[in-house]
Structures are given as C-alpha cells and as structure tokens.
C-alpha cells in the first residue's frame, strides 16, 4: 500500500500562520489587532443563488453587519461551476493576498479536494478560517420498511452487499454516497464498492423514490429529511452525529449508540485566499468565534436546522486536512480514485 502522506503536495503556500493566530487569540481582545476591514467585504458563494453555500454567505453576511464586524456591507457573489472548483481556482489564482474576501465551503469542498476534482489544486493553497455549524448525515428508510434499526440494515449488507440499495442527492462518490460507506465500514461490512448507490439531483428526489418504494434506503442530511419525517413517510434509523441532536430531533438515535461508530457532519464554513497577513487572518478567525457565540447566529441556526459545530483557526485547519485524508483513503478503498 501507498503511504497516504505521499499524496499530499508539499505546502507551497502554507505558512505558520496558525500558530500566530492561536497566540493572538489567546490574548482574546480584538482591539489588539492591527487589521480592520475597510470598505467592501465580499463573500463568494461557489454556487447559484438558493443553495447551501449561497445561504452561508448571505446569512453570515447579515450577522456580520449586525455585529458590526464589517465597516459597511458584505456583498455575496455567486460563482457557480465545477462544484465549487471555479471559485476555488479563482481564489487561488486571482485573489492571492486579498484579505477582504471570504469563500463559503462545506464538506462538499473537502470531498472534491480529496478526490482530485479540482485539478492541480489542494487544500494548502487557501487559508481555512472556521466552521459555523453543521448538518448531520442520516440513514433513513420508508415507514413501511422491514428494517427497524441501523444494525439490522447493516447485517443485511454484511450478508449480501447488494441487498440494500441507497438513494442520495450527491453524485456517486459524493458526500451522500460516502456517508453510506463510512457507516458500512464502521459496521465491518466487507466489499464496500458493491453496495448500490443511486444518485439523484437532490435529497428531495431521492427521498421520493424511497418513500415511493422504488429504492430501499435514503442517505442525506437531517435538514433534508425533516419534511418527510414529520409527515410520517420516512423513518430515520440513525443520525451520524457524536451526540443526539437537540429539540425535535432528540428522538433519533445516533449510529454510535447503536454500536456503529460512524460520524458524518456536513459542516458550513469559510476559506480565504493564501498569503494574507497574520493580522488579517487573526481578525477573521476571531470574527468567526464572535459570530458563533452571538444570539443572532444561534437564531439563524435554529431557524435553518443547523446543528452545533464550531471550529476555527488551527483546529479547523487540522480537521479539514484529516477529513480530506479520510475521504481520500475511503475513495481509494472503493476504487473511485487510484
């Protein structure tokens, strides 16, 4: 086997910023920062209006204006293409050193980076600032399904990996597909590549097929499943979070408590261009912490089904790299990439 670190391109743009950032953070007061944003701040949403990234930019932009973290307004720029690849390439090649632009990212970004879908680019070419919440993965079946809990579903897969067919809203090898594989791997299912996964345009379409009895199980995020869960058509077997989710979701068991150690957070966060000053980076990292702690943001999270998940600075950077390594390994295991 290859050593996976071999596949990590040497960090051309990586600077020891994270250390500085943590050090400054430890002082804990924003008045010490030499950097203050001036004029217009931009937030690039790497998708068309209406999607998750667009939501991230617009809602965080609003909260930043309310908290007066920016002098004027935050302008959301939609830059769709290649599942975020166009915006990533733009940030890497045209925005180097620009400390007034944030780019929305999520697990979809790390998945594509891990699978080499942004050709010639890797995670070290940008600055990872922080995450402000997550949508957790779920495995669900139709309410009249023969499977009552996750171990039952997994033992069926162990006997015959083709016995349960999954429907999800991402492409083959995408995040929804990976959640099935992460769960199956944690349950010691062998022959992962043989598990059938059908990709639909979005979670809604995939669920319709599961509820209609055409496909056995649904893989997606909790926010997608909410509608069909409330109507009673869909039974969520497990949520892929560390602990049970708050509020109306507290009845749903985690995979962990059913003896299957699988986690699938689809985080929402930001990266920035490379080569920005330490002060600027520290300012934005601190802004992430301020936003996450604010009542305004907590209200946005509750309203939109976002679950607790927060990381910033070096912790986030480490997390992103680990997630990319894990996904890369899993994608190799199932033969998606060489």
């Amino acid at each position: 086997m290859f050593n996976k670190t071999m596949f990590r391109t040497p960090g051309l743009h990586k600077t020891p910023l994270t250390l500085v950032a943590t050090a400054v953070l430890a002082l804990g007061s924003s008045s010490l920062f030499a950097f203050e944003p001036e004029g217009k701040v931009e937030c690039i949403a790497p998708a068309d209006p209406g999607g998750g990234w667009d939501f991230t930019c617009r809602s965080v932009g609003n909260v930043m204006e309310t908290l007066e973290l920016v002098p004027r307004s935050v302008q959301t720029i939609n830059m769709a293409g290649a599942g975020g690849g166009v915006a990533y390439a733009h940030t890497v090649s045209k925005r180097e050193g620009d400390d007034q632009v944030l780019v929305a990212a999520s697990t979809a970004t790390t998945t594509r980076l891990a699978q080499g879908q942004f050709p010639g680019m890797n995670a070290d070419m940008v600055n990872w600032i922080g995450a402000l919440g997550a949508d957790y993965g779920v495995i669900a079946v139709a309410s009249d399904s023969e499977y009552d809990d996750l171990p039952e579903l997994m033992s069926a897969l162990k006997e015959n990996p083709r016995s349960v067919k999954f429907a999800g809203g991402s492409a083959k090898g995408g995040w929804d597909h990976l959640k099935v594989l992460i769960t199956a791997q944690a349950a010691d299912v062998e022959n992962l590549p043989r598990i059938p996964y059908l990709s639909y345009n979005n979670g809604g379409e995939a669920m319709t097929q599961v509820v209609g009895g055409h496909v056995d199980a649904f893989t997606g995020d909790i926010s997608e499943a909410q509608g069909f869960m409330e109507s009673g058509d869909l039974r969520v077997l497990a949520v892929l979070s560390e602990e049970r989710l708050p509020g109306e979701f507290s009845d749903i068991p985690t995979a962990r408590e059913q003896g299957i150690d699988a986690l699938g957070p689809n985080w929402r966060g930001f990266y920035m261009p490379a080569d920005i000053s330490d002060e600027a980076k520290a300012y934005w990292v601190d802004a992430m912490d301020t936003i996450y702690a604010s009542d305004e943001w907590q209200k946005v999270m509750t309203r939109n089904g976002l679950m607790p998940f927060h990381m910033s600075a070096s912790e986030f950077e480490t997390f992103v790299h680990k997630q990319i390594d894990d996904i890369e390994q899993l994608s190799k295991d199932i033969g998606l990439i060489q």
């Binding site: 209406g50 830059m79 599942g83 690849g85 492409a171 090898g173 059908l198 979005n202 809604g204 055409h214």
Partner: protein
C-alpha cells in the same frame, strides 16, 4: 379543500406589492414581445429570462414575472395576426383567418378586444383545470419509479415533433444535437465527459445560457437581418365600439375553446397549435351556415384564441407535476425552475408549495391584468411596435448580457452564450427546429440517469424497463406518438391549410 387553502396562500404571495408589480411588468413586456411579428412565446420568454437575473429577483418573484410574460406573449401574439395577417407563431395562425378580415372591414379594435376577452376566458378555464388536476397528478407521480420515468421521457421525445410538426427528420436531428450537448460534464458516476479540462464545463452546459443564446441571441441576429432589408410595418387601429351583447355572443365559443385547449395542452406534444386548430374547426362546425367564417366572424377569433391560451395553461400541468415539458415555452420555464434550484415534480407541491401556488395564483391575476392592459391600452402596444429596432435591439442585447453575467459572474458564460447564438442562427437557417435541441439538453441527463437507476436496481436486468402496467402503457403511448404524426399529420396539415385558404 386542501388545494383551496394552498391557493389562498398562493394569492398571498402573488398579491404582495412587489410581486404584483413584477407581474404587471411581465404581462406588459410579454404582450409587447408577443406582438412583434414572427416572434413566438418561447423566444419571448427566453429574451426576458436575463431580465429576471439582472434584477436579482428572488425565485418566486422571478417565476411570477416570467409566467406573466408567458401569458402575455400568448395574448400579444394575436396583435400582429389581426393587424398584419402575420402570426407570431403557429398557434396564432388560426386567429388570422377571421381576425385579419375583421381588421380589413375597419373593425380592428373590435377584433382585438374580442380576442382579449376570449384569451382571458380560455386562460381562466384552463387555469381552473390546472388547479384541479395538478395536485392529483402530483400525488400519482409518487408511483413513478426509474423505469416509469424512463418510459415517460421516451414518450416526451416520441411526441416531440408534435402532430403538426413539419419535418420529422430535422426534429430528430435537433433532438440528437441536444442530447449530445447534454453529455458534456461529469456524469453521475463521476466520469468526465467532453470537459477538456475546462472547469466551467464540469457541471455541464447551463440550460439558461443555452436557451438565451439559442433563442434570444439568434433572434437578435435574425431581427437585424430582416430589418436591414425592410422598414417597420404600418399598423393602425380604429376607435373601439363593443357592446355587452357582442361579448355575450362569443362567450360559448370561448368556453368551448378554453376546455378543448386545456385538454390539448395537457397531452404531450400536442400543444397550442392543436388547441387553436380544434377551437376554430369546432366553432365552424357548431355555428354551421349561420356564421360567416373566414370573412371576419367574431366567433372565429374567439374560438382559436381561447383554445391557444387554454393550451398554454394546460401545458403547465405535465411540466409542474412530472418535470416533463410539453412545449417549447414550458421547456424554457422548466430550465428556469431548475436554475432557481427548484425541482419540478411531485415534491414541488409539498416542499415549494408557496412557489407553485404563488405561480398559479399569479397566472390568474396575470390574466386579469392582461385583460385590463389589452382592452384600453391596445393602442399603446400598436404604437410601441412602430418603435424603430435601432432603439429596441441594443436594450435587449444589454439585458441579455447583464443577465447572463449576473448568474455566475464569469465572462466564460458570455462567450458561451454568443457561441450558442451563432449556432442557433445557423440551425434556424437550416430550418432545424430549436425546441427539440433544448428538450434534448434538458431531458437527456434525466433520461440517462433514470435508465441507469432502473438497471442498477434490477442488477442489470433490462426487462425491468417494461415490468409494470404503467411503464407498458407509457411505452405504448410513445409508440403511438411516434407513428401517429406520419398517419394523421399530413391529413391534419392539409385540413389546416384548406381551412386557411
């Protein structure tokens, strides 16, 4: 009764002041663009799509504006039919038959008013049909698995040419061009096809760019070419004198036309041409010798106008419930929905209920607005039509460029749009229809995906494709749809031509 509640909520959305304003704007611009001689509603909507993006409208407002454009274009089509004897598109042909003679007799204003009333009644009848039928069909759509969807897409392709289609071979060529363009991008197993390492092509070709390029930009090129060789047509309208009795006289014709049009619109492939044709011939049969059809009988204006407006609402049924458009214009609207992150189909009625019912309510409101706009203001439209194209063209071009750029903020899209415009111009010169190209592009990926899913679920067993009663019926319908134009088409076209003479 659930439906009624949704509809009331829908009115809440559609009657919001800004939405109402954009509905009015859409109705006005739609009528104007529909009135341009030779310009059909599909092109009209395509030309105005960029406007929604340049204004940065939220999804429901964008949709409300463009459905008003859609309805308005159907109304506007009759202006040039009546005044100039030039139909804007095929469905408007029937309106020429009695509308132009009326205008020649100095009754142009009456003909326009009657056609506006008939259009209103036809649309109203069909929109009520849409409200009743769509939720039922949406529930039924849950029984559609991948195999059934595959058969449904086949049906859509089989009926592409439509019963009145002219050259089946060119239709097939056009559909294949669309299907070929649809293969560009990363397929759903993660394999790159024809992307040539260009990041912008990874997600495939954006429908909206293709549509605006093919329809709007090529239309502009045609406009320039046509106007370079001729002047602006002269039109005039007399003062309106229409009594309540005149309207009462055309009421039955309009109701019949509306119902027939709606049915024709729901059927895939049949569409508005059939609606207006049946509307006209039925009136002629029912009225019999007492009428003076072909010499300016008001009922000959009312029947087909109600028919073609009814069909345009009917065509929204398969588009909204199953995601399969029955006509060029609904295909354009489908592309718009997809680009606004709204997937048509059974789910839309539950997940995007506010949008669907907002749009349906907007259709109703739009009809009232159009009636108001079209009777007293018809003179203004006629005047605007004589605005020299040297003022109009730059505005349309600017809106197209600004709109497309504001979708993704890349100049790549602009080059792409211009390339599509040039391709559209060439295709139209070769008389290859553009609607099948768009349908191929829109439906191709879905058809492929459903075929793959069906085979995946059945572990590669091809018989799954015709394993259910529903699938078999759809295959049978597709077979009929493919063969029927060859048998009935020439017959029908001959009759249409005879009636026209």
């Amino acid at each position: 009764m659930e439906t009624l509640g949704f509809l009331i909520d829908g009115f809440g959305v559609a009657l919001a002041p800004h939405n109402l304003m954009f509905a009015l704007l859409g109705a006005f611009l739609g009528t104007l663009i529909g009135a341009l001689p030779g310009l059909g509603p599909a092109n009209g909507v395509a030309i105005l799509i960029p406007l929604a993006f340049s204004l940065g409208l939220p999804p429901e407002t964008a949709l409300i504006m463009l459905t008003s454009v859609y309805a308005g274009a159907m109304y506007g089509g009759r202006i040039s039919s009546i005044l100039l004897n030039i139909p804007g598109d095929e469905p408007a042909m029937m309106t020429c038959l009695d509308g132009y003679p009326m205008a020649q007799k100095g009754k142009a204003a009456e003909a326009l008013a009657i056609s506006a009333v008939a259009s209103f009644i036809g649309s109203l009848v069909a929109t009520i049909g849409l409200i009743l039928l769509a939720p039922l069909l949406a529930k039924f759509a849950l029984t559609f698995g991948p195999a059934e969807y595959f058969a449904l897409f086949l049906l859509a392709f089989a009926t592409l040419g439509g019963i009145t289609g002219k050259n089946p071979v060119k239709t097939i060529v056009a559909a294949c061009i669309g299907l070929m363009i649809a293969t560009i991008g990363i397929d759903n197993t993660g394999v790159q096809r024809f992307t040539f390492g260009v990041l912008e092509l990874y997600e495939g070709v954006d429908f909206i760019i293709a549509i605006v390029g093919l329809f709007a930009i090529s239309e502009l090129l045609f406009f320039i070419e046509a106007r370079a060789n001729g002047g602006t047509p002269k039109m005039a309208v007399n003062k309106l004198s229409l009594s309540f009795a005149d309207i009462k006289a055309i009421l039955p014709s309009s109701l019949r036309g509306g119902v027939l049009g709606f049915i024709a619109g729901v059927l895939p492939g049949a569409g508005a041409s059939l609606g207006s044709f049946i509307g006209y011939t039925l009136e002629k049969k029912i009225v019999g010798k007492k009428g003076y059809f072909g010499e300016g009988d008001p009922r000959g204006v009312a029947g087909p106008e109600a028919g073609n407006n009814g069909a345009s609402s009917g065509a929204l049924v398969p588009m909204l419930t199953l995601g399969v458009p029955g006509s060029g214009t609904t295909a354009v609207l489908l592309a718009l929905l997809i680009s606004l992150n709204i997937t048509p189909g059974p789910l839309m009625f539950t997940q995007n209920a506010d949008i669907v019912w907002g749009v349906i309510a907007a259709l109703l409101i739009g009809n009232f607005l159009l009636l108001l706009l079209n009777i007293p203001l018809v003179g203004i439209f006629v005047k605007l039509l004589s605005v020299p194209p040297m003022y109009l063209l730059p505005v349309v071009t600017m809106v197209a460029f600004v709109g497309i750029y504001s979708i993704s903020n890349t100049t790549f899209d602009l080059y792409f749009m211009v390339a599509f415009g040039a391709a559209g111009y060439v295709l139209r010169k070769l008389e290859i229809p553009l609607v099948p190209v768009i349908l191929g592009l829109l439906l191709g990926p879905e058809m492929e995906k459903n075929l793959r899913h069906a085979l995946d679920i059945a572990d590669g067993d091809w018989t799954v494709l015709w394993n259910s009663g529903l699938a078999i019926s759809l295959w049978a319908l597709a077979g009929i749809g493919l063969v029927l134009p060859y048998i009935v088409g020439p017959l029908l076209r001959r009759r249409m031509r005879q009636t026209a003479l």
